[in-house]
C-alpha cells in the first residue's frame, strides 16, 4: 500500500527557511527512506504566498484567490509518497522524521480495488 505523508509546518511562513543543518538532517532521513526501498516520491513546496487557490461552490462556480490564504489554519509544506506494508509501518517511518514544530499526517492512497465495483467499472470506461 501507498501512504502520503503530508508535512504541516507549525511556524509562520516567514520562518520557512530551514537552516543548512536542518536540511542536511532531513536529507539523511530521505536517504534512509530511499535505502530502505520505501520512497516513491517526495517534494517540498513553496509557501502559499506564491500559490493560488481555486475554489468551487455547490454549483461548481469557480473563484480564484492568490496566496497567502488568510482563512487556512494549516498549509502543506511538502510530502513523501512511500510504499509500506501497513499503516503502522508508515507511522513508524513518520516518527523517525527529524521534524521540529511540525505535524506529519499519514494518509493511505486509494487504490482501484478500494472502490465499489460500479465506480471501478466507470473508471475503466474512460
Amino acid at each position: 500500500m501507498r501512504f502520503m505523508m503530508f508535512m504541516y509546518p507549525e511556524i509562520s511562513e516567514a520562518e520557512w527557511n530551514p537552516s543548512a543543518e536542518a536540511v542536511a538532517e532531513m536529507s539523511r532521513y530521505n536517504e534512509e527512506l530511499r535505502k530502505a526501498g520505501m520512497l516513491l516520491a517526495l517534494d517540498g513546496l513553496h509557501p502559499p504566498a506564491e500559490g493560488a487557490s481555486v475554489s468551487f461552490d455547490a454549483d461548481g462556480v469557480k473563484a480564484v484567490v492568490d496566496g497567502p490564504f488568510a482563512e487556512a489554519k494549516e498549509v502543506v509544506g511538502g510530502y513523501w509518497l512511500i510504499q509500506a506494508r501497513s499503516k503502522d509501518e508508515a507511522v513508524e517511518w513518520a516518527k523517525r522524521c527529524p521534524g521540529r514544530e511540525c505535524r506529519i499526517e499519514v494518509r493511505r492512497v486509494f487504490e482501484m480495488e478500494d472502490f465499489p465495483e460500479d465506480v471501478q467499472a466507470a473508471a475503466a470506461e474512460i
Partner: protein, 421 residues
C-alpha cells in the same frame, strides 16, 4: 501501553529493523542461522518489556544492544555447558571483544555492506533456488514462515524445514559472510538479481493464489530491487532489474480484465498503467544506460519494456527498436523464447512475412515443441497474411497446448475470428 498495541508496535519495528539487525549480527558471528536466533531473542525480549516500558526512542538500537547482550551471555554459558556448535566460542569471542563498540551507531556504509552481504549469503551458490527464495524472504523481507508457505502453496513445515536446511548448508559450506569483491561481485550478482526477479514473477503470475499474497510478493521484490540498486550503484544490471520491475509493476492494474482474465500487453488500457512507476522505471533505466558498462539482459529487457511504456497507444510502439533490442538480448543470452519474441517484433516492424521467416528458424527447437506461444505467434502472423485456414489450425493447436483456461478461451475466440475473415 496496552498489550495488543505494544505487540503491534514490536511487530512493526521488527519488520523495519530485522534485516539490518540480522545482517549486522551475521557479520559478527559469521553465521546467519545464529544471527537470526539472536535477533529473535531480542524480539522476544522486546515483546516482554515494551508493553511495560513503552517503545524506546531508537527501537533499532535497543534491539541491537539486546541481541548483543544475548550473544555474550550465550558465549559465557557455552564455556561451561556442552557446546552445540563448534565455531560458537571463536565467533562469540570476537563478539565479546567488540563489547565496547556501539553497533547501533555503525556508519550507514557499514549497514549497507552488511545488508548486501546478507543478500549474497541468502543467494549463496551452495543453496538450491527454493532455499534462496525462502531465505531471502525470511531474512531480508521479514516474512514469516507461514507467509512464505502461503505464497508458494506449500505447507508451513516444508518451508520451516527448507529454512533450517539452508542455514545448515551455509554453515557447512562455511559461506563467507561478505560482499564479493571486484570481478566476483559481477559474477555472483546475477544470482541475487535472479531471486528478486523470481519473487516478483511469482507475485505477478495472474493465474492463481490469494490476491494480497501475490501483491505482497511483487511489493517485496520491488523493495529488494530498489535496495539493491542503492547498494550496488555501479552495477548496470541492478538498475536494469529494478527498471524492468518498476515498468512491469506499472501494468499491474491493467493486466486483468473484469472477469479476472489476463489481458495481453498490446490490448491493455494504457490509461490504467501507473505513471509514477513508469517514470521511476525510465529513470532507473537511464541510470543503467549512463554507466560505462553495456546493458545486460535485465537492462535490455527493461529497455524493451520502456518502448511499450513510452508509447501512448499500441500503434505508437517503436517496433524497429524493440526488434533491435531483442536481437541484442539474443546475442547476449541466446534462447528460443527471446527469438520467438524477436519474431513478433520483427513481424510488427517489417511485416508478417519477415516475422514468419524468422519463426521458421526456431520452429524445430525442442524446447518450444509443446510451447503454446509458438503456434499462437505463427497463427497471428498467418492471419495477418490472409492465410486464414492455416491460422485457424495454429490457433487450435495453441489452444490445445496451453494449460491456462482463460488463455485457451482467448485462443479459441481468435480462431473463430480468423475463420470469419
Amino acid at each position: 501501553m496496552a498489550g495488543a498495541d505494544a505487540r503491534a508496535a514490536v511487530e512493526t519495528v521488527w519488520r523495519i529493523e530485522s534485516a539490518r539487525l540480522i545482517a549486522a549480527l551475521a557479520r559478527l558471528v559469521r553465521d546467519v542461522g545464529l544471527a537470526e536466533d539472536l535477533a529473535q531473542d531480542a524480539l522476544l525480549a522486546a515483546l516482554e518489556s515494551w508493553p511495560r516500558t513503552g517503545v524506546p526512542d531508537n527501537p533499532g538500537a535497543w534491539l541491537m544492544a539486546t541481541a548483543k547482550n544475548r550473544a555474550i551471555d550465550l558465549a559465557r554459558r557455552s564455556q561451561t555447558y556442552e557446546r552445540k556448535r563448534e565455531e560458537v566460542a571463536h565467533e562469540l569471542g570476537v563478539l565479546m571483544a567488540m563489547d565496547g563498540v556501539d553497533l547501533a551507531a555503525a556508519a550507514d556504509d557499514e549497514i549497507g555492506d552488511d545488508l548486501l552481504a546478507l543478500m549474497f549469503t541468502c543467494c549463496h551458490p551452495s543453496l538450491s533456488t527454493e532455499a534462496r527464495v525462502a531465505l531471502t524472504l525470511r531474512l531480508l523481507g521479514g516474512l514469516t514462515t507461514a507467509e512464505i508457505a502461503r505464497a508458494f502453496f506449500v505447507g508451513e513445515p516444508t518451508v520451516a524445514q527448507r529454512l533450517t536446511r539452508a542455514k545448515r548448508t551455509l554453515r557447512e559450506a562455511r559461506a563467507d559472510f561478505e560482499v564479493p569483491a571486484g570481478p566476483a561481485l559481477r559474477a555472483r550478482l546475477p544470482d541475487v538479481l535472479e531471486i528478486v526477479y523470481l519473487v516478483f514473477n511469482e507475485g505477478y503470475a495472474a493465474s492463481s493464489g490469494e490476491r494480497w499474497v501475490r501483491d505482497e510478493l511483487c511489493q517485496e521484490a520491488l523493495r529488494l530491487g530498489r535496495i539493491l540498486a542503492e547498494l550496488a550503484p555501479a552495477e548496470p544490471e541492478a538498475h536494469g532489474l529494478i527498471a524492468l520491475l518498476e515498468i512491469q509493476a506499472s501494468r499491474l492494474p491493467a493486466r486483468l480484465g473484469p472477469d479476472g482474465e489476463p489481458v495481453l500487453l498490446l490490448d491493455q488500457r494504457r490509461t490504467l498503467w501507473d505513471p509514477l512507476l513508469i517514470s521511476r522505471g525510465l529513470a532507473a533505466l537511464k541510470r543503467a544506460e549512463e554507466l560505462p558498462a553495456p546493458l545486460g539482459p535485465y537492462g535490455l529487457q527493461a529497455a524493451i519494456a520502456a518502448c511499450h511504456a513510452r508509447a501512448p497507444e499500441t500503434e505508437d510502439t517503436d517496433w524497429v527498436r524493440i526488434a533491435a533490442l531483442y536481437a541484442a538480448l539474443g546475442a547476449l543470452s541466446p534462447s528460443p523464447i527471446v527469438e520467438l519474441n524477436r519474431a513478433v517484433a520483427v513481424g510488427m516492424a517489417f511485416g508478417p512475412e519477415t516475422g514468419l521467416a524468422l519463426l521458421e528458424r526456431i520452429a524445430s527447437d525442442p524446447t518450444l515443441r509443446d510451447y503454446h506461444l509458438l503456434p499462437s505467434v505463427r497463427a497471428d502472423l498467418l492471419a495477418r497474411l490472409g492465410r486464414s485456414a492455416e491460422a485457424v489450425a495454429e490457433f487450435h493447436r495453441a489452444a490445445s497446448l496451453t494449460e491456462n483456461e482463460s488463455e485457451r478461451r482467448l485462443l479459441l475466440r481468435r480462431a473463430t475470428e480468423a475463420t470469419d475473415r
